[in-house]
Amino acid sequence: MAWLGPEEWRAVALSLQVSLWATLLSLPLGILTAYALARWQFPGKQLLNGIVHLPLILPPVATGYLLLLGFGTRGPIGGVLEDFGIVLAFRWTGAALAAGVMAFPLMVRAIRLSIEAVDPKLEQASATLGASPPWVFLTITLPMALPGIIAGAILAFAKAMGEFGATITFVSNIPGQTRTIASAIHAFLQVPGGEDAALRLVLVSVVVAMAALLLSELIGRRVAARVGGK
């Protein structure tokens, strides 16, 4: 595709990288959170549910600002992480964090529903066969909830591809480092005559996200058929 310049290609590649990592890294936490919300009763459950939904509710810029306060080099968490050599602020890793946080509620909702649909009687059966709770989870709950987990992950990926407000606020818009497709679109829209380039990038992100959605429908259907028997 000759119509994308090298800068744009870098943005596309970076977006894919950021979204992929955001999705993969948040998946375990997403599954754990969804499981806790679906199956456990504990004080503060509603609070956890609310916090998970926060990024959906807050203006993305506010979320980005909160991330900057917490995970920036001077933030309490960012400082600790930096001692371990993990720098998030103004790196693509930070873009992944921002995208992951913004996509988290969508992921958790989808996974929670699919976990709630797993029959607890099968989990009991597994326990009577000698499986301890973690094994019950790994061998029964997780595989049975797979269609929803995949759907949730791909939805999160699509959302991460489009995330902009929190990302630019938290990690700025540094070409090759944190300039994702969405940031690039935004930048192009600021420049006189940048509309064409912006449109091209919009197309790219639509195509990628649509492909992801289609894939999720397909995988979901196939896995559901397997889990449902046959």
Binding site: K121, L122, Q124, A125, S126, A127, T128, L129, G130, A131, S132, P133, W135, V136, T139, I140, P143, M144, L146, R226, V227, G228, G229, K230
Partner: protein, 372 residues
């Protein structure tokens, strides 16, 4: 040996039970809501009772007084559920292997080939549960429980969801289990046929309390503890297959008396259990002649127990064992039946339902291995 002593209160139900289950099948018998599933679920660790103690082969599974309550996965169970509960995302083979995976290394375990053969599920191994019929599912569920190297097998109405044909296809597997597997099996049922065919011992529950405990023959002969009352009363006879006749009948010997039944599958020499329902037995003062019924057993009236309806239960000691007959009080009077008197029991060959005929050691006796 499984030893159980429990107390548990639900909103409007109290369970208070103490019993022992030896090797073989102990059937928990009782009407709906009598607490059978509650007992089994407590034994499985799925429900924690208010108070109680359970030991299985000497291992303490539960002891509320000392705060012991092993979680299900540490009880070494094989639980066969009414609905199978096979894992739909695993193949039959993987379902069968599932429990073995978690069994302790050194555990004495059934050889999987033997179990697969015992249950006749060899051709299903690569299918998924979704592609099995109800009866096949249940056989796989039995296999799965067996192969988890259990020290206690629990089965909660494993046949209730199946129709008659499928039930009779699976009962023989439980008979084999009883005779070939050495761990105690706690089996919930409200079917007199199942009790008659399977039970090594029976625990009859009624509203959370044990009202009777003993051999199948003892329990089934007491209408007062039967869920369906007198309609289910019957005797359990044991007999040995003598020979198969050319006209399609099988001759059995029961205490020296011949019994004729429509052809059985078992080879001559096999030990059988028959349930003879009390309402299928006609009594005659004298030996009747010219009747189409083939089996006529002389006996002595051991007991004559009037029921609450128009009926009475007559216990007749015959050479084949004690038989029960449910007749009207009017007939009893007309025939002048009385305790100590003699009478003949008339049983049609075809009136014993196939579901009531099973292979197995003597009812109420301790297990003794019979190779097939």
């Amino acid at each position: 040996m499984l030893e159980v002593a429990l107390r548990h209160d639900f909103a409007d139900f109290t369970l208070d039970a103490r019993f022992e289950a030896p090797a073989g099948i102990t059937i928990l018998f009782g009407r709906s809501g009598s607490g059978k599933s509650t007992v089994v679920n407590i034994a499985a660790g799925l429900l924690r009772p208010d108070a109680g103690k359970i030991t299985s082969g000497g291992r303490v599974l539960l002891d509320t007084r000392n705060g012991v309550c092993l979680p299900p996965h540490r009880r070494r169970l094989g639980y066969i559920f009414q609905e199978g509960r096979l894992f739909p995302h695993l193949t039959v083979r993987q379902n069968l292997r599932y429990g073995a995976w978690f069994a302790p290394r050194g555990a004495a375990r059934e050889e999987s080939g033997r179990v697969v053969e015992l249950l006749g599920i060899g051709h299903l191994l690569d299918r998924r549960p979704g592609a099995l019929s109800g009866g096949e599912k249940q056989r796989v569920a039995i296999g799965r429980a067996l192969l988890s190297a259990p020290q206690l097998i629990l089965a909660d109405e494993p046949l209730a969801a199946l129709d008659e044909a499928r039930k009779s296809g699976i009962l023989p597997y439980f008979e084999r289990l009883r005779d070939e597997v050495s761990v105690p099996i706690l089996y919930v049922s409200h079917s007199a046929s199942e009790v008659a065919r399977l039970a090594t011992s029976v625990v009859a529950l009624e509203a959370g309390r044990i009202v009777r405990q003993g051999s199948a023959a003892e329990v089934l002969s007491d209408p007062s503890v039967l869920p369906a009352g007198a309609r289910e009363a019957g005797a359990v006879l044991t007999a040995r297959v003598l020979r198969h006749h050319a006209d399609g009948l099988t001759e059995l010997a029961a205490g020296g008396v011949p019994l004729f039944l429509p052809r059985l599958a078992q080879a001559p020499g096999s030990e059988m259990r028959l349930r003879v329902a009390a309402h299928d037995v006609i009594l005659s003062r004298d030996r009747p002649e010219g009747l189409s019924a083939l089996n006529i057993l002389p006996g002595t009236i051991a007991e004559l127990r009037p029921g609450d309806g128009p009926g009475a239960i007559v216990a007749l000691d015959t050479p084949a064992g004690r038989l029960l007959a449910r007749i009207t009080r009017r007939s009893a009077a007309a025939l002048g039946l009385a305790q100590g008197g003699s009478a003949h029991a008339v049983i049609k060959a075809v009136s014993i339902a196939p579901a009531d005929i099973g292979a197995g050691p003597r009812a109420g006796e301790t297990r003794d291995l019979i190779p097939e």
